[in-house]
Structures are given as structure tokens and as C-alpha cells.
């Protein structure tokens, strides 16, 4: 092969088509388009929810009506028409499955093409998979094993019916209904999502995992996830996504709430690879997500994310470090290509004493994409001895893309130690030269450097996920990651 230069890489990136673009034809039970109080009530009815839940949704809907879409993010897109979206879609054949044989074979085929065959997952490493196809969970595995430990891991609609006391107590405590435009929308219309409760002192024996897929054209997906780690418990939660190629923009406005009570630890990892639009920037998923965790005393929440998909991303997994000695972490890789736009980062709100936070953010932009880091580190007056370290590095490929950094640092306590550093660079010519000199071809060298650039974050992913993350990086930057 002739010399592989960065220009070649760029060309390859531009022409790279979305590999996982296919569409499964499953009869769906879709609501007529539009949003009104009636639709909210209908969703609630459909899910056989108790009255308090319906009221909670309606309250959120009323807040939402008064809110306007946020404009501050560094992204440009056609605003979705919220009256042109169907707010509920679920696969229509939905008996409760006990074994895989009962699952619609077409669905199984989808999973196979995604490379996450259930049988394989069952055998492998002990990952319990709660698959969300469109909005309703259709299969839950390993429920029994988890049940023995007292761990509840189920669709949130089931939790609302079976564990109302927990849902009532925690839902909306970290992300209130009126938190922001998309959180309010989600609160009003969320169709399903995952619920997880780890009892006191229990270490969850396996990684909990959910695969999200957006399937039915024209339906937005409104996932709601609630993870509660009771005192002294530990859980590692994985979330991964791919979506089929559709030309219409699809809206995704999820809400994730994490609650880590005293001495608890939650590790939340995400791999996001939704359809980013074609290379002209047509189509693709709008990803407007609100993720936030609350740490009580000595608790720890760690967010790890690998963002390679979506046309527009607007996502800031945050930690409220309320309890003394609590710890928040954020590790992120965001890759944008073609016309993708990502505005992502984190918020670390230090309220308790001796709270610590770490932010490592890596952005890689190629093609015509725009990649922004936006973060907030806030040290409140009572947060004695708070400590933060932030690092955000950007790698640019070509001069049609952009990398931006918007870090906000607000310190109101003299004992705080806050450090922030950011760099922007391209793959250094001397780095490449050094590799070439040692007999490493340019293509391999680029792979090596990009890999090294992302390593700090990739290392934070759980074993079971790291492989997939690597795969997704490959898809986004194929030809560079070897």
C-alpha cells in the first residue's frame, strides 16, 4: 500500500458509512403524532400507571409548556417540531418472555447483527442485559440471580407498579421535572427505561447493562433511568446504543438519575453510537440528554462515556457532591466526524467538605464537525478542602472542523484546590516521524497515537465494555485505529 497520510485518513473518514444502519420491521403500536395533556394521560394509562404518576407527568407537562428550548449550546440544527413526533411506540407483540425462544426472531436477528446475541451474553462474563427495543423492555436476563441478592433491576414501568415507594421517593430528586426543557419533556412523556436498586451493603456481582435502540421511524425516544445505590453498596451500570439509518432527524431526550447513598459507589458507563447522519450532514439523531448523580457522604459516582454517534449531542453528565468526602469522576471521549456536532462535558458541584472530582475529557474532531467541551466546577462556600482536577484535550484532523472549550470555574472557598488544563493539537509531524523512523507505517502510527490519546478514558471502561468501545471508535475513525 502506498503511504497513508493524514489526508487519506480524512478522506476515508468522510466516506465512511454507518455500518449498523438497518431497520427492523416489527409491527409497532404507535400513538398518533402530537403532544397534549390527553397524550400524556394516554401514555400513563397505556402503562397502567397509578394516579400519582399520572399527576407527576402532568405537572411536568405544564412546566414544559412554559419553557423554551435552550439556545446557549454551541450547536446549530433545525429545531424539532414537538407536535410532529409520536410520543409512544412499543413493539406490539409483548408477552413476558421467560426464554429466548419466545422472542420475535426478527428482533433476535437485530441483536445478532449488533453483535450482542443474547445467548452469547448469557454465557459470557455474567452480564445481565435488559434490552430496550424502542421504548419497552422485551427481555430481562439474570433477573433471578440478582433477585437473590435483593437487587431490583427492571424496566421503570414495572418498578412504578411494583416498587412505588422507591420510585416515589427518588424519582425527580436529582433531575427535577422543571430542571430544563428536555428534562421536563422527558418527565411528561417518558415511555420506559431502567430502574435499578442495590440494597444496603450489597456489591452487585455483575455489570448491569442495557442496550438502547431507536427503531421506529418518526418516534422520539424518551428513556428514564433511575439507579439507586443504598448505603455501602456498589454497582457498575453499562449503557450502549446504536440506531438504524433513517433520514428524518430523530429526537432523543433521556434522563438519567443516579443516587449514591452513604458509602455507596456507582459506575455508569455509556457507549453511544447512534446514527450520525450521512456525510452531507443529512439525518441523524438529536441527542439531548440530562444525566446527573447525587453523592451522599463518602459516596462515589463515576461517569465514563464514549460518544461517537448522533448528529447533535447535548449532554452533561454531572455530579452533585452533597455529602462530605464524596467523589465525582468524569471520563469522556467524544469523536465527531462529517457534520456531527457535540457539545458535551460535565458539572461538578462541590457542596460537602473534602469532596473531590476529576474530569478527563478527550475530543477528536474530523471532517466538518464541531466538538465542544463545556464544563462547570463549582465550589460552594461550605465545601472545605474541595479538590478538582480537570483536563480536556482536543485532537483536530483537517481544518474544516472545530474544537472548543468552555470551562466554567466558580470557587467560593479559600481552601479549594482547583486545576484546569486544556490543550488542542493535531497529530504531531515529529510524533509520526519518530514512529516512521522506527519502522511503524504512518497508518499504524496514527492508530497508535489516537489510541494513546484515548487510553486514559478507555482504561476506565469495564472489561466487558472496553472491547465494544474500541469497536465503536474503529467505526468512527476506521483506518486510524488499528
Amino acid at each position: 500500500m502506498s503511504k497513508f497520510t493524514e489526508d487519506d485518513l480524512q478522506k476515508e473518514l468522510e466516506t465512511k458509512e454507518y455500518k449498523y444502519g438497518f431497520y427492523t420491521d416489527i409491527e409497532s403500536d404507535t400513538f398518533p403524532i402530537g403532544l397534549s395533556e390527553e397524550v400524556v394521560i394516554a401514555i400513563s394509562k397505556k402503562k397502567e400507571e397509578p394516579q400519582w404518576m399520572t399527576d407527576w407527568r402532568l405537572e411536568a407537562f405544564r412546566y414544559w409548556k412554559e419553557m423554551t428550548e435552550p439556545q446557549w449550546a454551541n450547536v446549530h440544527y433545525t429545531k424539532p417540531d414537538f407536535q410532529a413526533i409520536s410520543y409512544f411506540s412499543a413493539p406490539s407483540k409483548k408477552p413476558k418472555y421467560e426464554s429466548l425462544d419466545q422472542v420475535d426472531p426478527e428482533l433476535l436477528d437485530t441483536f445478532k447483527r449488533l453483535g450482542i446475541s443474547l445467548d452469547e451474553q448469557k454465557v459470557l462474563a455474567g452480564v445481565a442485559v435488559d434490552i430496550v427495543m424502542d421504548s419497552v423492555s422485551v427481555a430481562t436476563t439474570f433477573k433471578k440471580t440478582l433477585g437473590e441478592k435483593g437487587i431490583i433491576f427492571c424496566p421503570i414501568s414495572e418498578a412504578i407498579k411494583e416498587h412505588p415507594e422507591l420510585v416515589k421517593k427518588y424519582l425527580g430528586t436529582v433531575v427535577p421535572q422543571r430542571d430544563n426543557f428536555y428534562a421536563a419533556l422527558n418527565s411528561a412523556v417518558f415511555s420506559d427505561g431502567s430502574f435499578c436498586y442495590i440494597p444496603k451493603g450489597v456489591k452487585c456481582p455483575m455489570e448491569l447493562s442495557t442496550y438502547f435502540r431507536i427503531n421506529q421511524a418518526g418516534t422520539g425516544q424518551f428513556e428514564r433511568t433511575l439507579v439507586i445505590a443504598d448505603a455501602g453498596s456498589y454497582v457498575s451500570y453499562l449503557e450502549g446504543c446504536t440506531a438504524p439509518t433513517r433520514d428524518e432527524n430523530q429526537l432523543h431526550a433521556a434522563v438519567v438519575e443516579l443516587i449514591a447513598l452513604e458509602d455507596a459507589e456507582i459506575k455508569y458507563s455509556t457507549v453511544q453510537n447512534w446514527y450520525p447522519g450521512n456525510k452531507e450532514g443529512k439525518g441523524g439523531v438529536y441527542n439531548f440528554v440530562t444525566k446527573r448523580g447525587l453523592c451522599e457522604k463518602n459516596a462515589k459516582i463515576s461517569w465514563t462515556q464514549v460518544e461517537t454517534g448522533s448528529a447533535v449531542t447535548w449532554k452533561y453528565p454531572s455530579c452533585v457532591l452533597k455529602g462530605d468526602n464524596s467523589i465525582g469522576e468524569f471520563y469522556s471521549i467524544a469523536v465527531t466526524n462529517n457534520f456531527q456536532q457535540a457539545d458535551t462535558g460535565t458539572k461538578m458541584i462541590h457542596l460537602g467538605k473534602n469532596t473531590r472530582s476529576t474530569i478527563i475529557s478527550k475530543g477528536i474532531s474530523a471532517g466538518n464537525s464541531q466538538n465542544s467541551y463545556r464544563g462547570l466546577v463549582k465550589i460552594s462556600p461550605r465545601a472545605e478542602n474541595a479538590r478538582n482536577f480537570s483536563q480536556c484535550d482536543s485532537l483536530l484532523m483537517g481544518n474544516k472542523c472545530g474544537a472548543h472549550t468552555f470551562p466554567y470555574i466558580e470557587v467560593n472557598n479559600k481552601t479549594a484546590k482547583v486545576e484546569h488544563e486544556a490543550t488542542t493539537s493535531k497529530i504531531g509531524e515529529d510524533q509520526l516521524f519518530y514512529c516512521n523512523q522506527r519502522g511503524i507505517p504512518t497508518e499504524k502510527a496514527i492508530a497508535l497515537i489516537v489510541n494513546g490519546f484515548s487510553k486514559e478514558v478507555l482504561n476506565k471502561l469495564p472489561m466487558e465494555f472496553a472491547v465494544e468501545a474500541q469497536k465503536l471508535l474503529e467505526i468512527s475513525l476506521e483506518g486510524s485505529v488499528g
Binding site: N399, H404, P407, Y408, I409, N413, K414, H420, T424
Partner: protein, 437 residues
């Protein structure tokens, strides 16, 4: 009547009275409209998120002081860099004081904007440069609308001004509250060099609100060193809007020393139009009580092979608030840019706070851009070390603070000015450092 209404009504009276050619009148009218539309900035605007002007806008300011006020040189000698010979452009309550000034037309022009705006021989320069780099944000527009007086400095090709130029604005306090809007225009032509020191000083505790705009043009291979000393009374507030347009191969540096004032906002904007340009932005902020200092910097890299270097240090005591918002924009064509930005802060007391937003917007790939921001305290171990050597705690703290700020001081090129600032720092920290560097 709110300050905004008052300013707009007085504008029309002012327009009749001013002596300038029609081009300037047109600019003024556009500017006042722009201000009328935008009004004073509020906290809702991203650029003013951490700084509220509300407290300043409540005062009933005198916009046009009627009387010409005089002051004795001996009373204000200490505000001049009197150890060395300098050119001086002095304004008292916004009005030029020929008695205290020392201007020149010998080879270089160091004189007044009012003269330049009205005399035909300056027309070409005014048309080429006046209001050409200033933005049309609300406060700059307000200044443009009322632009009448300020320093006018033009250094022709290949000239080096042999001594520094001091621009000093005094407020006498003869008015209960005073609103000042000086406007400076500085043009440094090809290969020319200049050093300028700017200072705003209020002589009593009557409130003063200054909204100054300075436009600086550094042409090809020119060199400009600009020093801002902000050590005003705690009743005086300053909004400084500085715009610098640099041409190929030029060097420009701005040092800002903020120790005084109630509210100080520095909007410092650099535009690099040409290759191999070097821009330096440095600042030391040491404040206490209820003071607020807000540094907003912008470095816009437009052409390839340029450098920018920013270094801001802040020490915050009492209930003071520090704000830093540094923005580096690297445009598509600006390959091989080397941009560096650093902001270090020390919080001394519990009630002090700092809000920092170091921002990068990069559109070119072959660049080296980095920024760093730290917030912390004096090193306990270093303090202890000094104390074990018999240095009292207060002095030890002062030494460490001085060391913290010293790399900004190092690049001050006028030795007497460096000594002066060292003394100001010692004063501010409340100790005698007992050494001169």
C-alpha cells in the same frame, strides 16, 4: 430618570455643541442608536454573567462637568512616574489640563483627540483609524457616541519614542458623582515603537464611573508596550475597553495591574491581521474588601504563524470577587498558531470568590493551543520553611505572594515602573518587602 435615559437625552444637546466633521457626527448617531437598543449589559448576558453593573447605575452621575477644575502638581505628583522624564497627557474631570501635561508635535504626535477630531490636517488619520477596530457592543457604542476627548498618539514610520507616554485621568470630586468617557486613539506605524502608561485616579471618595475606550493600531513590525495601573479609590469604578489591531510582524503587550477600584472590568481584545505577530497579555490582580476585578480577554488569531501569550495572576482577600474570561479564537487560516493562556488564583479568605472561564475556539488543525487555570492557597510548607528561617508569618506570606506575581512583573520593560509596581504590591499586601528588584 435612569442613567441610560439621561445619557440618551443629553446626547442631543451634546451633538450640537461638539466641534467635529460630519463623518464623526454620523458615527456618533449610529453609536447612540446601538446603545439605545442594547442598554447597559445585564447579568443575563453571557459576557456579564458574573459582573453586575446595577450598583453603579444607581448613582446620579454628572455627565458633563461644567467647570474647569485645577489641581496642584505637588498634590498629584505621586501619581506620575516622576523619577523619569515622560510625555504626559493629563485630564481633570475629563477636560484636558495643559498645565499638567507635556505633549509634543515634534516628529511624533502626542496630543489630544479633540484637536485631532476638529482640525483638517488630522482628517486622513481619523478617517483611516477612528472607530475602525472598536466593536459595537453597548458600552463601546456609548463611548463612541460621546467620544470627544482623550489621548491622540501617532508614531510615524521608523520612529522610536524616546520616553514613555503617560495618560492620566484625574477626578477631582468637585461633582457629587461623575461619569467619564475618555477615548484614546493610538497609531504606531511601520517599525515604530512606543511605551504607554495609563492611569485613572480619583482624588476623593465621591463615586466616579469611567467607561474608557482605547484603540491601538500596531502596523507592520511595530512594537507597543501598554501598561495599565488600576489603583483607584474604592469608590471609583472603571470599564476599560481596549482594542488592538496588529499587522504583520508586530509585537504588542498589555500589562494590567489591578489593585484598586470598586468594580474594574477590562475588556481587552487583540486582533492579529498578518503573519508572525506576537501578542502578550499579562495581569496581576490583588484585591480585598468588596472589590471586583473582571478580566475579559479575546485573542483572535486570523493569520498563520502567530503567537499569543496570556498570564493572569490573582490574589483575592476580604469579600472580593475575581472574574477571568479568556477567549482564544483560532480561525481556519491561522495554521501554526501557538497560543498559551494561564490563569492562577489564590484565595486568602473564606468570603472571597473566583469565577474563571478560560475558553478555546479552534478551527485550524495544525496549532498548539493550551490553557491552564488553577485556584489554590499559599503553600503551607513553603510558609513553614520561611518561618523556620526567622521570617515572620506576615512577611513570609507577602514574599510568597510577591513571588507568585513576579513573573508578570519581570516582563515590565521600564525599570522605574517595575519598582513603582513592586511598591504598590508591598503596600497592598501591607508589608515592607525591603528589597527592590
Amino acid at each position: 430618570m435612569s442613567l441610560k435615559d439621561k445619557l440618551i437625552t443629553s446626547f442631543f444637546a451634546f451633538e450640537d455643541y461638539i466641534d467635529a466633521d460630519s463623518h464623526i457626527h454620523e458615527l456618533r448617531n449610529i453609536a447612540i442608536k446601538s446603545f439605545e437598543e442594547k442598554g447597559f449589559p445585564t447579568k443575563k448576558e453571557e459576557a456579564w454573567k458574573y459582573t453586575s453593573l446595577n450598583v453603579l447605575l444607581k448613582e446620579d452621575y454628572c455627565v458633563f462637568p461644567k467647570n474647569e477644575n485645577t489641581i496642584e502638581f505637588k498634590d498629584v505628583k505621586k501619581y506620575f512616574l516622576h523619577e523619569i522624564d515622560t510625555y504626559k497627557i493629563v485630564f481633570i474631570d475629563g477636560i484636558y489640563s495643559s498645565f499638567l501635561s507635556e505633549t509634543t508635535h515634534d516628529k511624533v504626535d502626542v496630543c489630544l483627540l479633540s484637536a485631532a477630531l476638529s482640525k483638517p490636517k488630522y482628517k486622513a488619520v481619523i478617517e483611516n483609524y477612528f472607530n475602525k477596530v472598536a466593536k459595537s457592543d453597548s458600552l463601546t457604542s456609548l463611548n463612541t457616541a460621546f467620544a470627544k476627548e482623550g489621548a491622540y498618539i501617532v508614531i510615524p514610520k521608523h520612529r522610536e519614542v524616546e520616553k514613555p507616554i503617560e495618560i492620566i485621568n484625574f477626578a477631582t470630586g468637585n461633582e457629587a458623582a461623575l461619569f467619564l468617557q475618555p477615548r484614546n486613539l493610538i497609531v504606531v506605524e511601520e517599525n515604530a515603537q512606543v511605551q504607554i502608561i495609563e492611569r485613572h485616579q480619583s482624588l476623593t471618595s465621591n463615586p466616579v464611573f469611567t467607561n474608557v475606550v482605547t484603540e491601538i493600531f500596531a502596523e507592520k513590525n511595530a512594537s507597543v508596550d501598554y501598561y495599565k495601573i488600576q489603583n483607584d479609590n474604592h469608590s471609583a469604578s472603571l470599564i476599560d475597553n481596549t482594542f488592538i489591531l496588529q499587522g504583520q510582524g508586530s509585537n504588542a503587550s498589555v500589562h494590567t495591574f489591578s489593585f484598586g477600584g470598586k468594580l474594574t472590568r477590562n475588556n481587552l481584545n487583540f486582533y492579529q491581521k498578518g503573519e508572525r505577530i506576537n501578542s502578550t497579555l499579562k495581569g496581576v490582580t490583588i484585591i480585598e474588601e468588596n472589590q471586583l476585578v473582571d478580566h475579559h480577554t479575546l485573542v483572535n488569531h486570523i493569520a498563520p504563524n502567530c503567537e499569543s501569550h496570556q498570564d493572569y495572576k490573582g490574589i483575592f482577600a476580604g469579600k472580593s470577587t475575581g472574574v477571568f474570561n479568556g477567549k482564544i479564537i483560532v480561525e481556519k487560516e491561522a495554521q501554526k498558531t501557538d497560543a498559551f493562556q494561564q490563569n492562577n488564583n489564590i484565595l486568602i479568605t473564606d468570603n472571597a470568590s473566583i469565577n474563571s472561564k478560560p475558553q478555546l475556539e479552534i478551527f485550524a488543525d495544525d496549532v498548539k493551543c493550551s490553557h491552564g487555570c488553577t485556584i489554590g492557597q499559599l503553600d503551607e510548607e513553603a510558609l513553614f520553611y520561611l518561618q523556620t528561617r526567622g521570617i515572620r508569618k506576615k512577611e513570609a506570606q507577602a514574599l510568597l505572594m510577591y513571588a507568585f506575581a513576579s513573573n508578570v512583573l519581570e516582563s515590565v520593560k521600564i525599570p522605574e515602573l517595575k519598582t513603582r509596581i513592586t511598591k504598590l504590591i508591598a503596600n497592598k499586601i501591607g508589608v515592607n518587602l525591603g528589597f527592590n528588584l
